[in-house]
Subunit: 406 residues, 2 copies
């Protein structure tokens, strides 16, 4: 009779200090007692990563990415060693590994490496000995034994990838919230925790601003059908299961309302309406590493059109500089920008087959006299850019009207 | 025409903060400009190692040694990455490696591992590319890819071992003193820096309390004839060369005076004078991990004798407990202890062939009315245990009388 294997991932806030590390150890040891085989993935303690980045920048504003990975990977190495010690203190056999030691092979894109494959021999060997295997999140190693990191939130990816390779029955993602909510409970106290959500819905939620899990790791979980359980490291309450298909009693149209206030809008007026112009604008931004989010271009009735798009606020000045340069070359009209915007989105697999949902959303916003500046839709989400001052009102109204608080 | 290869080791105080790391980088880059091939070994920043040990002890008073090594090795990994960044900032090509990456293979004695062999392929490859190769000191890896550490002062050993394997022309040990002095300049301002000293003399100096370099690394340097240059990271002044044989104009009898106030003396009175008794006492201590230093037992004229020995003060209570137990079993007299002692030693290869040196030393101490409680000699050193209050007087008198200030 083989034991059930689970992967458990604890983020930086769950191991921010000695007391919290001890709490995590208690929880992990509890599972061990109940007979689970466990692989535990840990992030760096609290703000360690940010502190190391700051230290590096004092020495070199543009440190080589290889050395940056060498530096940052120490954060998780400290966490895994300390957690192993805490488990051993509780009499629970445990052993820690770095990404290199465990064989998480990645490509050579330092600071944003992609996992190529994982050699699970070592893990399986240790599991057989009855040990909890603790693996440093966020890091891997190239063929050449250079240390790499997987980018922000990369520990989620480590956990999901290990769960996939080891055929775990579940991948628990421990965080400081109790699960995925219908909307941000700080904005709408009536927000409800969802028992289940699909990968697709979660992907929309993640990319639309619900910062619970890294989007890339949800994509991987979806691809390999890894069941994820998002839950709180502070309580025993069940969280939210992220799975392939949710069996619901009724066909719920909208599952969540998300809000993102970190974007800014740029509008290029009177763009010549001919092939290749949009490509020229956005390839320039792409080459400069600017990640563009929503893009809206309307049908033009003249030979000119307006193009609007949003970018992260942190990149607004860089983006404006580049856009103005390209605009001058192309010969467009004015370039406008607005940082006082917010994106409000509704998400739900049910809306695929219900064209009336969009109309309902626009109607609710109109009822509250909220002007819609941009609209963008996907199969399972609808996003509207509105003025920032209306953001919370919009979230609450949509949450109420789509019946999410019930 | 091949370039001269040197190994340069910087201790924790040399890289204690951003400014010092930048200073080290400047020095290293200067050598690179002058055409050297360089392997740089770095310790953990300032007190990092002690801080990590403290953190571990908050979680587990007796952490597993494997996990301790996992934890502590992050200290040097941070240093090497930061130094690489600092060098790159100066336009000096550099690359950092952990002990594992560079292939410093050790046995499995965690926290005090011994180097088995070093694979220098990777280093040579990087040197060929014109890069400064930065290696994390103090750490290695077992055959099984577990991280090990080499014990306190282990970075010296890393440097010496690399210098040996790479056939370096010199191994520079940067520290916060300007070299090896005839005695501690804080006690005797007339102390003079030695231009050269032999491995044997340095070994005596190191084990007798001159805390410049780890004794084990000097043994290795001696074994493989690695020229060591001990010098200050704060100045450009030449330090002290540690070599096989020192060519001196005249045969200097005494080269240095050392002082050690960290020992305590234990005397077991009226020990039955028969075979196996001393063995029983000291094997008990050895099994308990107590490191005994000087041992003195005099010829006995009765059937009883006194045995005196010294141990580190930190181990005095443990030692007394064990000794009293054994004494009771053997049936000896009283067990006495004294912590208010000091060991004063003179060191010099010249004294080998000059029996008069010991007499001269005793004479000088007698002149100052300093009673000698124990005497121990080696080929190239003579040590006396005296009362602690006379320690500085003794050092200054010996330094003066043996003409070391000239």
């Amino acid at each position: 009779m083989s034991k059930a294997l689970i992967v458990q991932k604890f983020g930086g806030s769950s191991v921010a200090n000695v007391e919290r590390i001890q709490n995590v150890a208690k929880r992990v040891a509890g599972y061990h007692k109940r007979g689970y085989e466990q692989v535990v993935v840990v992030s760096a303690l609290g703000d360690t990563t940010d502190e190391l980045i700051e230290l590096a920048h004092k020495i070199n504003r543009e440190p080589s990415e290889r050395e940056m990975d060498m530096l940052l990977s120490t954060g998780e190495q400290i966490s895994v060693a300390l957690l192993a010690m805490a488990l051993q203190k509780l009499g629970c056999p445990a052993i820690s590994f770095t990404g290199l030691q465990v064989g998480i092979l990645t490509d050579t894109s330092h600071t944003r490496a992609r996992i190529i494959r994982i050699n699970t021999d070592k893990i399986k060997e240790e599991l057989k000995k009855g040990r909890v295997v603790i693996v440093a999140g966020f890091q891997g190693v190239t063929m050449n034994q250079d240390i790499t990191t997987l980018g922000r939130g990369g520990s989620d990816l480590t956990a999901v990838a290990l769960a996939k390779e080891l055929k775990a029955v579940e991948c628990e993602i421990y965080t400081d919230v109790e699960g995925i909510f219908t909307t941000d409970p700080r904005i709408e106290p009536k927000a409800k925790k969802l028992a289940q959500i699909t990968y697709d819905e979660m992907l929309e939620m993640a990319s639309l601003g619900a910062q619970v899990m890294q989007a890339r790791s949800i994509e991987v979980a979806k691809k390999f059908d890894v069941p994820i359980h998002v839950r709180s490291s502070m309580s025993e309450i069940e969280g939210t299961m992220i799975i392939k298909e949710v069996k619901r009693m009724e066909d719920v149209l909208v599952n969540g309302v998300t809000l993102n206030k970190n974007e800014a809008k740029i509008t290029i007026c009177e763009v010549p309406d001919k092939p290749g112009v949009a490509a020229r604008i956005f390839s320039t931004l792409s080459l400069a590493g600017v990640s563009v989010d929503m893009i809206v271009q309307n049908v033009s009735h003249t030979r000119k059109t307006d193009i609007s798009f949003t970018v992260n606020k942190a990149e607004i000045s860089k983006t404006l500089r580049m856009v103005k340069k390209v605009s001058a070359q192309i010969g467009t009209g004015e370039v406008l920008s607005d940082e006082d915007i917010a994106r409000v989105s509704i998400v739900g697999v049910g809306m695929k087959s219900h064209p009336g949902v969009a109309a309902a959303m626009f109607g609710i916003l109109a009822e509250h006299k909220i002007n819609i500046e941009m609209i963008s839709t996907s199969d399972i989400s609808i996003s509207c850019i509105i003025q920032k001052k209306f953001a919370e009102t919009a979230v609450r109204a949509l949450h109420e009207k789509f019946g999410l608080g019930k």
